[in-house]
């Protein structure tokens, strides 16, 4: 399945929140959706879920117009909450039914996911009587219940303790299937790097970067090298070059006049010893800051 968002625009009270968003989200993997607070992530997700109508633009699934009624959508919002006064099982079934499941199916699925997250013993209790950790598990189970075709997770790890984090990660990885789309939005770059193949970064309502994370890292690192010298003095050689230091390593940008080969020959000809020489691959954090940081500082 390919979910394609094209030229999406949305304004609230004369403020343009989304400015021509284009995204291609593939099934069978986890799509990482990044952006600073207020960049337009939640708004674009809400348009996808048909909470708001876009001012212009289109959303298609495999070339056909995307209708929320044709798919089950599971959603874990960043700001979570459920009914404190209701029994866990009642509200899990309720949300499943709202998502379009029959009562029977909802009950079956509710039991399954409650077991998966270890909350099956609390099903008959009111949510407010559960510990915070267990309440979070109920909320996560809610997103998975009735096996949604599209699973949208907004900051799913926020507030999760390491044990619950691990349970959730395992469930998430197990959930990947060719006919399922998973959208993962987070500030925690580590998780995105370890889970996601394709990513998109949104900044000030515009997609500033999108594509396969590995390719992006190669492209962003092009013309840059990661070096480690055998001794500190050898760094004197770098005078006149554009470089930064990262712990023991030097990240160097090659000037256009030089190639990797000419650069390394120059090092060897002066007898400088290297313990590491490789293409530089920026971390997602660096990519994110580069793509979203400056604009905001200037603004």
């Amino acid at each position: 399945m390919d979910l394609v968002i094209e030229d999406l625009n949305k304004s609230f009270n004369d403020k343009q929140v989304l400015k021509g968003i284009n995204l291609k989200i593939k099934s069978g993997q986890i799509f990482g959706y990044l952006g600073r607070n207020g960049a337009g992530k939640t708004t674009s997700m809400r348009i996808l879920m048909d909470v708001f109508k876009a001012d212009s633009g289109s959303i298609t699934m495999d070339g056909k117009e995307f209708k929320t009624t044709d798919y089950r959508i599971g959603y874990l919002p960043e700001e979570r909450g459920m009914y404190g006064k209701f029994k866990v099982k009642d509200q899990l079934v309720y949300f499943a039914e709202l998502r379009g499941a029959s009562k029977k199916e909802a009950q079956h699925s509710m039991k399954k996911w409650a077991e998966e997250f270890g909350i099956d013993i609390y099903l008959d209790q009111k949510l407010e009587t559960l510990s915070k950790g267990n309440q979070q598990k109920v909320q996560i189970a809610q997103a998975f219940i009735c096996e949604p075709d599209i699973l949208i997770l907004d900051e799913p790890f926020s507030g999760l303790d390491p044990v619950n984090s691990k349970i959730f990660q395992d469930s998430l990885l197990n959930y990947i299937r060719e006919d399922r789309i998973i959208i993962f939005s987070s500030h925690q770059m580590g998780y995105i790097e370890s889970f996601c193949d394709d990513i998109a970064i949104i900044n000030n309502g515009q997609i500033v970067l999108a594509g396969d994370l590995n390719i992006i890292r190669k492209q962003m690192g092009e013309g840059k090298l990661r070096l480690r010298f055998a001794d500190q003095q050898s760094r004197d050689f770098l005078a006149g070059y554009d470089y930064t230091i990262e712990k023991e390593d030097v990240i160097l940008t090659l000037p256009p006049s030089e190639t990797k080969k000419s650069f390394i020959e120059g090092l060897f000809s002066r007898g400088i010893e290297l313990t590491m020489f490789m293409d530089y691959l920026p971390s997602l954090q660096e990519i994110f800051i580069e793509k979203t940081g400056d604009n905001h500082v200037k603004a």
């Binding site: 048909d50 209701f86 709202l98």
Partner: protein, 406 residues
């Protein structure tokens, strides 16, 4: 449609699970049974109570604090009015000032007296009864002086008139009690359940459950389901209490005085009941929608009160208009308000029960009511949709109006 049923069932489950609701309903049912049983209690315990009370205003005069100005007055009046308490006006004044007695009379002549009391209240029943007694004594004295048989004169003057009134229209007097009963019930119902539905919406926003709701269903389904479920709970509660009233009434019917029976049964014809149900239910729904919409404008449960103040204010005004209508159902103001939906839920049924309302007026008022309910339901859905995902500052009406322009 299927989702509407889901929302409705879930909201109803939430309402029915409330222990406080069940307990209050049970208590109110018991109270209703007790009140309808009062006539039976009265028969059991107070069979001749009414006669005992009436003994007071017969011949044995009330005890007055008295001073007679002269011996003649004392001699002729004291057998009827009572013995002298103080020997002079000064003594009486002193006694009143020292709060030994509350008040007293100085009889100066057969047709003149001074009433001495400490604080003046608007109405003194003591003074009135004294005066009428003195007047009668003086009249009798004058009759006797002129050789007229005062007994005979009294008889002639107190000839009772037998009368019978035939109401071709409606008898306002007998329906007032019912009108007032229904009015209070509807007033409480709308205030309680209005606040309930507004709080329920605000709580969903406060707890951020709204995020899940609004993304898995649409605002129309959510508000319709909620208003429907809360509304039905209220109607069920009233129905339960009403049933207790009917049961209590049926069981104790034999002990009800005829006057009361006439009051209760005379005006409650089938068409009056239908008009009451139509206007009460529609008005109730109208207010619930507005309360729900206003609840969605705030982000915190504690802000609900201030958000619903405008509509509560309007509603209380409507209530006062209706109280006025029960006393003067024919008044022009009442006629006008019976076409204004927010008030007509009270005034139209009252008018219909207590006076004769042309069928055309009834139909026009019903039509206005239905149209208003539909309009306000649509408006509430819009406000709800707008308010549901707006957090932070309380939304103002101008923001809502702005949102229409889109």
């Amino acid at each position: 449609m299927l989702k509407l049923k889901t929302v409705f069932n879930f909201e109803l489950l939430g309402m029915v699970q409330k222990k406080s609701l069940l307990v209050t309903t049970a208590i109110m049912c018991v109270i209703a049974l007790l009140i309808t049983t009062i006539p039976t209690f009265m028969v059991w315990f107070g069979g001749d109570g009414s006669e005992e009370e009436s003994g007071g205003d017969g011949g044995a005069a009330e005890e007055y604090t008295l001073v007679y100005e002269n011996d003649e007055l004392r001699e002729s009046l004291s057998p009827m009015l009572g013995e002298e308490t103080y020997s002079s006006e000064e003594e009486l004044r002193e006694a009143v000032e020292n709060e030994e007695v509350a008040s007293g009379f100085v009889v100066e002549d057969y047709n003149r007296y001074t009433y001495i009391t400490y604080d003046s209240s608007n109405f003194s029943s003591e003074q009135m009864s004294f005066e009428s007694q003195l007047k009668t004594l003086n009249e009798n004295r004058l009759f006797d002086e002129n050789g007229i048989d005062s007994q005979q004169v009294r008889e002639i003057m107190n000839q009772p008139i037998e009368q019978e009134t035939v109401y071709l229209g409606k008898d306002a007097g007998s329906g007032t009690a019912i009108a007032f009963g229904v009015l209070i019930t509807m007033y409480l119902l709308i205030l309680l359940y209005g606040a309930n539905v507004a709080t329920s919406v605000a709580r969903e926003k406060d707890s951020r459950t709204m995020e899940l709701l609004i993304t898995s269903s649409n605002p129309r389904t959510l508000i319709l389901g909620k208003v429907g479920a809360v509304g039905l709970t209220g109607i069920l509660q009233v129905a339960a209490i009403l049933l207790s009233v009917v049961i209590g009434f049926t069981l104790n019917k034999g002990n009800y005085p005829d006057v009361l029976l006439d009051m209760l049964q005379g005006t409650m014809t089938m068409d009056v009941v239908l008009v009451y149900i139509l206007f009460s239910v529609l008005g109730y729904i109208l207010y619930l929608f507005i309360y729900a919409a206003l609840g969605s404008l705030v982000s915190k449960v504690e802000d609900v009160n201030s958000a619903v103040t405008p509509i509560t204010f309007l509603f209380v005004l409507a209530y006062f208009a209706a109280t006025f209508a029960t006393n003067a159902p024919d008044n022009t103001i009442v006629k006008v308000t019976s076409f204004i939906p927010f008030i007509s839920l009270f005034t139209m049924p009252i008018r219909y029960m207590l006076t004769s309302v042309p069928i055309a007026s009834l139909l026009i008022s019903s039509a206005i009511m239905v149209i208003t309910v539909v309009l306000f339901a649509a408006l509430s859905i819009h406000i709800y949709k707008f308010g549901a995902l707006n957090y932070g500052n309380r939304l103002r009406f101008k923001d809502v109006i702005k949102s229409f322009k889109k």
